[in-house]
Symmetry: C3
Subunit: 345 residues, 3 copies
C-alpha cells in the first residue's frame, strides 16, 4: 500500500487531531510493532501504555482520547477505531484471490470424477477417479483429490494439499497448503523379527466449517472413521492419529500431536506443542496449556491442565514453586543439623 | 457401507445369538467407540468390560461367550471374531486404489529417465532427468522424483512426495504424501557475521520394506549417506538430520526429531515427540517413551528410557515421586524446626 | 562413487603413508562412521581418539601425524586434510542439478505473471497471476507461486513448495521442498458458540540470503507483515506464527515453534524443538538450548537459556541437581527426626 495520513483520515471519515496530512504510510501494524510508515489503532484501554510509546505514523483513536503533547505520529479520531482499522486493512491488505469458476487447462480431472459446474480448479491439480467436488469449492494448484474422495460445497482446498482415497470433507472447510488428509495410520504387528503392516481401510471424515493449518496430517482409520467434528479449528503441523474422534468447535494449536483412537470432546482447547497419548477420552470444554503431555483420560468437563503429566494449574504451579524453593529447604535442613549438633552437646 | 445384521451374519457364516436381522449397519468401530450403526468385535478377554458397555449395533463374539441379558445390540457368534471382523472390513472398507500400469498423460517423465514398463505414474507427477523407477512401483499424483534418484520395485510413492536428486530408495518402500527425502542438511559456518552454507553433497539411502509417514523429512548427508535401515517404520512429521544412520526394524513415532550424525541401532523404538541430540550412538533394542529427550549415548542394548534427560523408568518415577512428596518433606522440616525450637528452650 | 586408494592419493596430490593402492572406495564418512569402503579425514586434533579407532578405508591426515602401527586402513598425507576432503567430496558427491534456463513445457505460467527470461521453472510448477520471478531463480517441479507473489534473484525454490498470494521473497533465498510461506495465521473470535475466522490480510516478507528447511510453515500476518530477517537460517518443520518479526542472521533449528506476534532479535539461536509463546520480545544474540520453552520476554542481549520455563544454564543445572539430591535430603530429614526423637527424651 502507499497512501497518506490525509487519505486515510478521509477514507474513515475521521478527524485529524494532530500530524501532517502529507505523511506517507505504507504498512499496518499493532501499536507495539509499528514504525513511522504504519497505520495502527488504539481500540482497548489496556493498551494505553503502548499508545504512549508507539512510533506509528498514524493511530486511529476514539474521539475522547487524551494523548501526551509530544506524541510523535498523526492521530485520527473516529467513532470506532477497531472497525475503522478493519476498513483500511480490507482496502489495502492482501485479499485472497477471487473465486474464478473454471477448471484450469493445466489441471487433471479424471473422466470418472464428478465436479460441480461452479468449481475452481487450479493448474496442476489432480482430481482422481470417482472423486466428487461440490459447488463453490476451490481446489488449489498442485492439490490432489484422491480416488473416491468427496468434498462438499464452498471449500477452499489449498495448493499442494493431499486428500487421499475415500475421505470425506464437509462444507465450507478450509485446508491450508500441504495438509495431508487420509494417509495410512501407523499400525504394525511384530512377527518373526519384522514389523508387518496392518492395513488401514477406514477413512477420515471432516465436518462442516473445519479449518486445518499448513502441513497438518490426519491419518485414516484402521477401520471406520477418523473424525474431525464440525467447526473445529486446527493450526499448522498438527498430527492426528488413526481412529481419533475430535469433537466439535475444538481449537488445536500448532505442533500438537494426538495419538491413535483418542476421543476428544467438544470445545476442547489444546495449546501449542501438546501431546496426547492414545486410547484416551477427554471431556468437553477441557483446556490444555502449551506443551501439556496428556497421558490419562479426563472425565470432568471444563477444567484447565498444564505440564507433563498434565495436571491442574494449581498443582503445576505448586510443583514448580516447590522445586524453586528446594535451595531454601536445603538451607533449613543444614541449619537444623547444625542446631541439633548444639542441642546434642 | 450399508448393510444389515443378517447380511453380516451370513457373510461370516456366523450364528445370530440375539438381535434384529434387519438392523442397518453403516460403519465399523472398536467396542468403546461403536454406536448402533457399527459392527464391532470382541476378540480379547481383556476387553470384557467394553463388551458389557458397548453400544455397537453388532458384535462378533466367540461361540462360548456369555453376555448380560440386557445387552443392547446384535450378537453374532463365530469361530474367530478377529478374522471375521477383518473379512468384513476388507469387504466394506476403503481399499487402496488398484495398481494400474501406465504413465498418466498429465505426468512429466524426462526423456533421460529410466522407467520400467510396469510402473504406474499419476497425473502431475514429475520424474526428472536420470531418475530410475523399478517394476511395480507407483508414483502418486504431484510427486517429484529428482534428478538421478533411484527407486526400487513395488514401492508406493504417495502424492506430493519429493525425492531429491541422487537419493536411493529400496524395494517395497512406502512413502506417504508430503514426505521429503533428501533436502539439504542444516549446516553453516559463521564467518564475518554471516552464516555461510556448507554444501550438502551426500544422499539419503532408504532400505527395503521401509515405510515413512506423511510430511516426514529426511535430510541428505553432508557427504556420504543418511541411511534408513531395512524394515524400519517411521510415522508422520518425523525429522531426521543429515548423516544419521538409522538401523533396521526400528519404530519411530510421530513428531520425533533426530539430530545430525546420530547412529541408532536395530530394533530401536522411539515413541512420539522424542528428541535425540546429534552425534550420539544408541544401542540395539533400546526403547524410549514418548517425549523422551536423549542427550547422551546409550551403549547397553535393550533398556527402556523415559523423560528429559532420558533415564530408566525407575529413575524417572523416583524423581517424579520425590517432587510430588516435596510438600510432605517441607511439612516435616517445619515440624522439626518447631520441635527444635522447643528442645532449645 | 567407485575409486581406489591410489586414485584418491593422486587426485589430492597426497603421499601414501600406508595401505594398498588398489583398495576400493565407494563412500565418504566421518571417522566414527566410516567403514572399509569409506574415505575419511583427520582435520582436528580433538578427534585424535576417533583416528585411532576408525575403520575407514582411507584417512587423509596431516603430513606430521603419528599413527599406531596396527592402524587398519590406508593413510594419505596432505597439506590440509579438510580442503583435500572437500575436493574429493566435490568430485564424487551428488551436486545440485545444474541451473538450466527455461520454462518446462509441463509448467504453468499465467499470462499475467512476470518472469525474467533467465529463470528455470520445472515441470508441473504453477506460477499464478501477477507473480513476479527474478533473474537466476529456479522454481522446482510442482512448486506453486501464488497470485502476486514476488521472488527475487538467484533463489532456489524447491519442489512442492507453496508461496501464497502477495508474499515477498528476497534475493538468494533457498526454500527446501514442502515449505509453505503465507498460509493464513491462526486467528478466531468466539461468537455464539462458534469460532469465527479473523481474516488474515497481511503477507510474509523473507529477506535476502534466508534459507528455510523442508516442510517449515510461515504464516501470513493478520495485517502488515510476518518478517524473516536477512541471512536467517531455518531448519525443517519449524512453525512461525502470524505477525512474528524474526531478526537477521538467526538460527532456528528443526521442529521449533514460535507463536504469533513475537519479535526475535538479530543473531538469536533457537536449538531444536523449542517453543516460544506469543507476543514476546527476545533480545539480540540470545541462545536457547534444545527444547527450551520460552514464556516470557528476554530484554538482556547475549544470554543462554535452557529448560521450561527457559532459565539460565546455572539455574537449569541447579534445579536439576536439587531434584537429583532429593533422596539425600529426605535421608537427612529422617536422620534429624530420629536424632530429635532422642534429644527430646
Amino acid at each position: 500500500m502507499k497512501t497518506t495520513v490525509g487519505a486515510i483520515a478521509a477514507m474513515v471519515e475521521g478527524r485529524l487531531l494532530r500530524g501532517d496530512e502529507a505523511h506517507e504510510l505504507t504498512n499496518f501494524a499493532a501499536l507495539d510493532q509499528a514504525d513511522a510508515s504504519c497505520v495502527s489503532f488504539f481500540g482497548n484501554a489496556k493498551y494505553r501504555e503502548q499508545l504512549e510509546r508507539t512510533r506509528a505514523g498514524l493511530v486511529l483513536v476514539p474521539a475522547e482520547v487524551e494523548v501526551k503533547a509530544d506524541h510523535a505520529g498523526a492521530l485520527v479520531a473516529v467513532a470506532n477505531p477497531i472497525l475503522a482499522f478493519d476498513q483500511i486493512v480490507r482496502a489495502y491488505g492482501t485479499l485472497p484471490p477471487p473465486f474464478v469458476v473454471g477448471i484450469s487447462a493445466a489441471a487433471y480431472v479424471d473422466p470418472e470424477a464428478t465436479v460441480d459446474p461452479e468449481v475452481s480448479i487450479g493448474p496442476n491439480a489432480s482430481v482422481l477417479r470417482g472423486a466428487r467436488i461440490g459447488k463453490g469449492t476451490r481446489i488449489g494448484a498442485g492439490a490432489v483429490v484422491g480416488e473416491g474422495a468427496v468434498i462438499g460445497q464452498d471449500c477452499a482446498i489449498g495448493p499442494n494439499v493431499t486428500i487421499c482415497q475415500g475421505c470425506l470433507v464437509g462444507d465450507r472447510v478450509i485446508l491450508h497448503p500441504g495438509v495431508v488428509v487420509g494417509a495410512d495410520g501407523f499400525g504394525f504387528e511384530f512377527v518373526e523379527g519384522r514389523h508387518r503392516k496392518i492395513e488401514q481401510l477406514g477413512i477420515v471424515r471432516i465436518g462442516d466449517d473445519v479449518e486445518i493449518g499448513a502441513s497438518t496430517t490426519i491419518d485414516r482409520a484402521r477401520f471406520g472413521e477418523t473424525v474431525i467434528g464440525e467447526g473445529t479449528k486446527i493450526d499448522n503441523q498438527v498430527q492426528i492419529g488413526h481412529n481419533c474422534l475430535i469433537g466439535k468447535h475444538c481449537i488445536i494449536v500448532a505442533q500438537t500431536g494426538i495419538s491413535g483412537s483418542t476421543r476428544i470432546g467438544d470445545y476442547v482447547v489444546l495449546a501449542a506443542q501438546c501431546g496426547v497419548a492414545g486410547h484416551l477420552t477427554i471431556a468437553d470444554r477441557v483446556t490444555f496449556g502449551g506443551r501439556s503431555g496428556v497421558i490419562s483420560s479426563i472425565d470432568e468437563p471444563g477444567g484447565t491442565y498444564f505440564g507433563y503429566p498434565a495436571r491442574t494449574l494449581k498443582e503445576d504451579r505448586r510443583d514448580a514453586m516447590r522445586v524453586k524453593q528446594l535451595g531454601n529447604l536445603l538451607k533449613r535442613v543444614k541449619d537444623l543439623e547444625s542446631r541439633l549438633g548444639h542441642a546434642e552437646e
